[in-house]
Amino acid sequence: MCTVCGCGGNVTFEAGHGHAHGADGHSHHGSFSHGHAGHRPHTAQGAGHAHHHGLGPAGVSVPGMSQERLIEVETDILAKNNIYAMANRHRLRALGVHAVNLVSSPGSGKTTLLCKTISLLADAPLAVIEGDQQTSNDADRIRATGAPAVQINTGKGCHLDAHMVGHAMEDLPLVAGAHLFIENVGNLVCPAAFDLGEDAKVAILSVTEGEDKPLKYPDMFTAARLAILNKVDLAPHCDVDLDLYEANLRRVNPLIEVLRVSARTGEGMESWVKWLSARRTAKMLGARG
């Protein structure tokens, strides 16, 4: 039973079993007008499972007739997403789990960063939600480190939403003090608008992307609490001005924290792990108090 949305009363997620949000004619991209008429298992790759989302709008026409009138709606277009996000947030707070939403362009090194982070966090409990349009490649890479991971495939969708994440959380061992990493679809635009219930958005930016990237895609960097400037080991080879990267990040977000990191060489990784651990501890204290 979905405890949040009540969809499909007997949906359970088990290893090797999935939750297909594809062929049953509902979409999870803002409309949430779902019927969940037919959940079906699908072929899950590897030891875990994938969630598939992404079809067009439901074909519903509305009967009834009335006189012409004005209806005040005053409703946020993403209201449904925000309700699911709030539910996720309450659940994470009650559990004392610290969740970060990792956002970036495709190819910035999110998954490599995550694999290295997992090895540095050693014995800390953690879990990973991987979002991509297709394939379970990233979840497979995470599982190879020994960490539990759920892959969400968004189909044609360009971002994760809070409803997908709420379901994925049901499949993960979330214990008190755990880190939850949500690796969003590689996209610097849409994920900015979709709250997943996370504690912080962390934007990853690699040094090959150009110093003006924060200015080109300001919304994401405004929404992020921390920016990780990744692949700094490549900086000497690509005429890049790291200070200009930071200046542009602070121009779109005066409050943003910035860490210079190379997931490949390990440079700066200690600061990142400290940042995570400090925030997780604060969250646990908050959950207790």
Partner: protein
Amino acid sequence: MHEMSLCEGIRGIVEDQARRHGFAAVKVLRLEIGRFAGVEKAALGFAFDVVMRGSAAEGARLEILDLPGRALCYDCGEEAVIEDRFDPCPLCGGGRLMPVGGDEMRIKDMEVQ
């Protein structure tokens, strides 16, 4: 940005409202969109026509009301209305501004029958 997703959100709300208020058709649907919401109006209009097909809002006229962008200046500590995301603070000329409004994406009202 994700104008198609937004229209699917609008469609969901229209369907909820149709069930609640028992109307058959939406004639006009008014949105309030903030300057910094990242919404491309032309793309939204195109997606709206496509996504509303078969719903009560099929053929409805979409009207978009702009809401101003507001930002807090970290130099003078005041909040001000700015036109462009990268405008300096109109009060002190500072460049350290954090948006605090203008990201709204709301359905304001609907004329229905």
